[in-house]
Symmetry: C2
Subunit: 482 residues, 2 copies
């Protein structure tokens, strides 16, 4: 660990005081930072305003009489160099440049401006950006989106795309994604992916790293940083630009030399990084890594209410590199004691819709989960709980109380599977966002919350559950080889 | 066309009168059928009740003094043969047996009972099932789910899984899935997939067929029926059980001989059927086929608000067998006139978040869509409209009016692309079902409705949009070869 470098990065993520240059009553950074604990150490700079949202607005950062460690620059492109110059004069440690209009335009004047910026800052100040969302750190109060939560987590996120940074912020609200630090670093005129990887690798608050990357200036340095970080904690990466068209678009997006997809895949694998193919997979895998031990093999059991899904999902598992091994005769005999024979399938997957409605008595879902956890060929369990709409039909207003009893029972089984038997458990609760059934919606939200509070990751579809298990197994396989 | 057979099937789907045997105040068939136009020609049979929901309940179907063409049998397994015998005596044309506990149990007594049932009905009455949901036909009023809509459509659905039949029913509510006729046929003791394929192929109300199948007794007959149906209208199929584990599970689910995945894929391809891999794809492809012409090539353009998504989705397109060709210089020059250079990408994909917020003036999304439609290497267009959450933040209560103006504009562009330029257009509007932002939710519902009313298919994720376009292209390629 490079202590000096770590301290330098830490002073950016935990500034003594922070400023927004270009603050205005219509600016997102102003609102975002006023909503966090940094508000008491926050200063606004904008010569066009005497005050912004009731606070003094300084004409220049040089006029502020306390030290500023971190400044957000959100002024038009032609004023950026001046603002950065002022920050250097003020002794600011790190600036984040939100402004776009640099190299990413592909236009000569943008490329020229980016070169000038690089020359100006070299050795004098650290820069995140330009053309990016910047930093989010609930522990210090840095934020770029008024919707971000202030809840501190253990997932570190590094993304070359601003949109995906927003996706992670919203996931904090909708899927309980708990973040330690996130950075969207755009054109990377100074600080680049390896700097953030090294920092998060050493950061005691971060236990998992999620990365979205399109390209890099120094491949050798990236490889070393990936190896360093993946050697310390689980690292999951989505590479944008792995096909011909993707590479062309990535080069136009962040001006990156994206390189061949195969080269990147090999580098990830050799560095101990698990590579995913889509943004949802990046979210699901990072969150699952933050909650669960990795599975010790590729055997999956699916506990479902539907024979059709049992068939299709078995196919999906196999296509994803997993296995759906049959249960032992002993387990099947035990299950037969309380799973009705008609209209069910007693085996793996287990299809028994009746058990999902059983809110009291013996022989319930928790028993199934305990029996399945005892099977040594099963390393992960997916519980598909997609019967809420039907519950509203069958039970009406009585549904919530019964659902709570059912969830209490199956969560006991899930805890046993995870904590006693060491199995990876993922729960699916599908909910169509366009449902016309308000009760289905509120019960789904209620159930999901119960599961999340027990530390189980809930996904909205079986496909996502299967892919997440497959990535967790892929990660286990990488770790076992290294 | 076998006219006698068609008339026989038609008399089942359009019965003069219908009965529920085993009707009760707690039974779904009772509720479902009372909610449709068939209610005036509906009779209840159950010796345990004098009346059910205010209607007379007959002790036997033989006591009813009008002809019954269609009966639902929902009695315990041991009473099924008696009920079927009564139906034969009454001259019923077709029965649907909901009851499970037959061959699908894998138990000797279940297999024996199914054999007895087969022997009893042969040549005397037509049977749907047992162990299935039965029929749904909004035009006649047949239904198995109280949540089904009464809106008549043009998509015919045949499914060996009852759950997937329910999924199609809910899709009628949430994604505007418009069905002509649907049948869930379970163990297929009499009527089997080929019977329904032939019927829907000849049915003038059906213009697209969606099929979920696990296995079949007579492969040669199925192949002929697939060829016959696919020769008459688009046919999309999901085969459950294409891997070793899937085949094992399918055989336990419906007792089917599922066969090797490759054999089925070859049969589908040679018959002109497009095969999909997941239930969502079955829904999306069927609906898109019901709305749109097939694309004449595999070139896709994506109009988006995010560079990161533009990169990742270009990769996803290429992996799915599509191309993301660059625009002509002429188109790029035209786009440059109104797409800002900073923080955007002018090319294919087009990433310009600014245009999504432009609710008046010149140079808007409709202009983009017109320019893109003029590119001969582009055959399909995906519009990713995922900025509603940000609109609520930026515009607050004013958002709906502005969104309506924006949608009015881009829908004019979509209509041009579809109706004048013959392009396939798919719109994505993502909405997290667990959003905590009620305004985002209501605006998303509002926008989706506007798009659907113009006949555009809306999907909730970019992945689904890309897969749907890929399947539509696959279908086009199959048709062009045959």
């Amino acid at each position: 660990m490079n202590t000096a470098k770590f301290e330098e990065m830490n002073s950016i993520f935990f500034p003594r005081n922070a400023a927004v240059i270009g603050a205005s009553p219509k600016d997102n950074y102003t609102y975002s930072l006023l909503a966090t604990k940094i508000r008491d150490r926050l200063y606004f700079v904008n010569p066009n305003y005497g005050e912004v949202l009731g606070r003094k607005s300084y004409a220049s950062i040089l006029d502020i009489d306390v030290p500023i460690d971190y400044a957000v620059i959100a002024v038009p492109a032609q004023f950026v160099l001046g603002a950065v110059g002022d920050c250097i004069g003020k002794g600011v440690k790190g600036v984040h440049i939100f402004t776009s209009g640099f190299g990413e335009t592909g236009l000569p004047e943008g490329i020229r401006l980016e070169k000038k910026l690089a020359d100006l800052v070299k050795g004098k100040i650290r820069v995140i950006g330009p053309n990016c969302m910047g930093s989010y750190c609930p522990k210090s109060g840095l934020s770029f989106n008024p919707a971000s939560t202030n809840v501190e987590g253990n997932i570190g996120v590094i993304t070359q795309s601003g949109t995906f940074a927003q996706v992670f912020v919203y996931a904090g609200r909708t899927m309980n994604m708990r973040i330690s630090k996130m950075v969207s670093y755009g054109n990377a005129v100074d600080l680049d992916c390896p700097d953030f990887l090294e920092y998060l690798a050493d950061d005691p608050d971060t236990s998992v790293i999620a990365l979205y990357i399109e390209g890099i200036k120094d491949g050798k340095r990236l490889r070393a940083a990936l190896e360093y970080a993946a050697g310390k904690k689980p690292l999951v990466a989505l590479k944008g630009g792995v096909t011909g068209a993707g590479v062309r678009v990535a080069s136009s997006h962040t001006g990156s030399l994206a390189g061949a997809g195969q080269t990147w895949s090999t580098m990830f694998k050799q560095s101990g990084v698990v590579q995913v193919d889509d943004v949802d997979d990046l979210l699901n895998t990072a969150k699952t890594m933050s909650l669960s031990a990795i599975p010790s093999g590729n055997g999956v059991s699916i506990v479902t209410y539907s024979g059709g899904f049992a068939v299709v999902q078995s196919d999906m598992c196999v296509k994803a590199g997993l296995q759906v091994p049959q249960f032992s005769q002993k387990a099947i005999d035990e299950l037969r004691k309380f799973v009705p024979a008609a209209g069910t399938m007693i085996g793996n997957p287990l299809d028994s819709w009746q058990l999902f409605y059983k809110y009291s008595g013996e022989g319930r879902l928790s028993d199934v989960l305990r029996i399945v956890s005892g099977e040594k060929q099963i390393h992960s369990i997916i519980l598909q709980f997609d019967v809420i709409r039907f519950m509203t039909l069958m039970w009406g207003q009585g549904a919530e109380e019964k659902l709570e009893a059912i969830a209490g029972d199956f969560l006991a089984g899930c805890r046993y599977a995870r904590d006693e038997a060491g199995r990876l458990v993922i729960i699916t609760i599908s909910l169509d966002p366009y449902t016309d059934n308000e009760m289905e919606r509120s019960l789904s939200v209620f159930l999901r919350k119960m599961c999340e509070e027990e530390g189980f990751h809930v996904v909205p579809s079986l496909g996502e559950a299967i892919r997440t298990v497959a990535y967790m197994y892929k990660y286990a396989a990488i770790k076992n080889k290294s």
